[in-house]
Subunit: 151 residues, 2 copies
């Protein structure tokens, strides 16, 4: 679907303005798509993101700050996302021995199982819905990084 249809507007100041709206809309579209699959597992998008980050270091523990700086949405409130994952017994909090300010987190066996099942489903969904070859994806990655060049 063209952006014009999606937001029922044709008035863009220029192509750059249209591109900013297009990025925002595409992100919403992707999130909505993934959330439908995640919901089956009782997970939200950001809970899933935290589980995947923990998986990357497993079986090592990670402190809250290190999880936070790997999040896609940097202002996510990681302690509260962990609260909910802990309630579902998918992660476990421990006090750090090296630095008593830190809380360190690990995946539980249950967390690993849920993450693996979820990842399979999400990957399959994206493969079937995101119809883009590697060459185009590479161009897209380059352009997005160009857009953020001033970061």
């Amino acid at each position: 679907m063209k952006l014009e249809q999606a937001i029922q507007s044709t008035k863009f100041k220029n192509e750059v303005h249209k591109a900013t709206l297009n990025v925002l809309y595409t992100a919403w579209w992707l999130k909505t798509l993934m959330s439908k699959e995640l919901k089956e597992f009782g997970l939200t998008h950001e809970q899933y993101n935290v589980l995947r980050i923990l998986k990357g270091k497993h079986p090592e523990q990670m402190c809250v700050k290190d999880i936070g700086c790997r999040m896609i949405e940097k202002n996510s409130n990681v302690p509260r996302i962990i609260d909910r994952l802990e309630l579902k017994k998918l992660v476990k909090r421990n006090d750090s021995e090296f630095d008593k300010r830190e809380t360190v987190i690990t995946l539980t066996q249950s967390g690993i199982a849920v993450l693996e099942a979820t990842t399979g489903k999400v990957t399959a969904l994206l493969e079937s819905e995101v119809l883009m070859d590697d060459k185009d994806a590479k161009s897209l990655n380059g352009l997005l990084e160009k857009l953020r060049a001033g970061e």
Copy 2:
């Protein structure tokens, strides 16, 4: 900044997977950038979006549904965003004469003034931070629509 630095990860399944994360991250980056400017005017990103949509039809009134389907994030709770804009006297609610189920909304004079001031600032900010020429923006728009082709 490269995505790899931004989310401190280099493990992407493939370029398409990286592109999905890159879109999500870029959207967050854009929203954060704009929010900084909007905050000066006491507006949130979605409140600003509603004001801009109303501007497109002004001085005509728009019903809640028509605003909703022009929103970038479709699941936004438009009545509640309007509640806050109404409290700030930036918009006005009226009962529709044609269909008593509808509430129709218009910008107030104050709303128009705030919107114009805000738009000027936001536009200037994007021009200075989004360093991309029209040609690249056009390619980017094409690729994003390719990504969502199955929509």
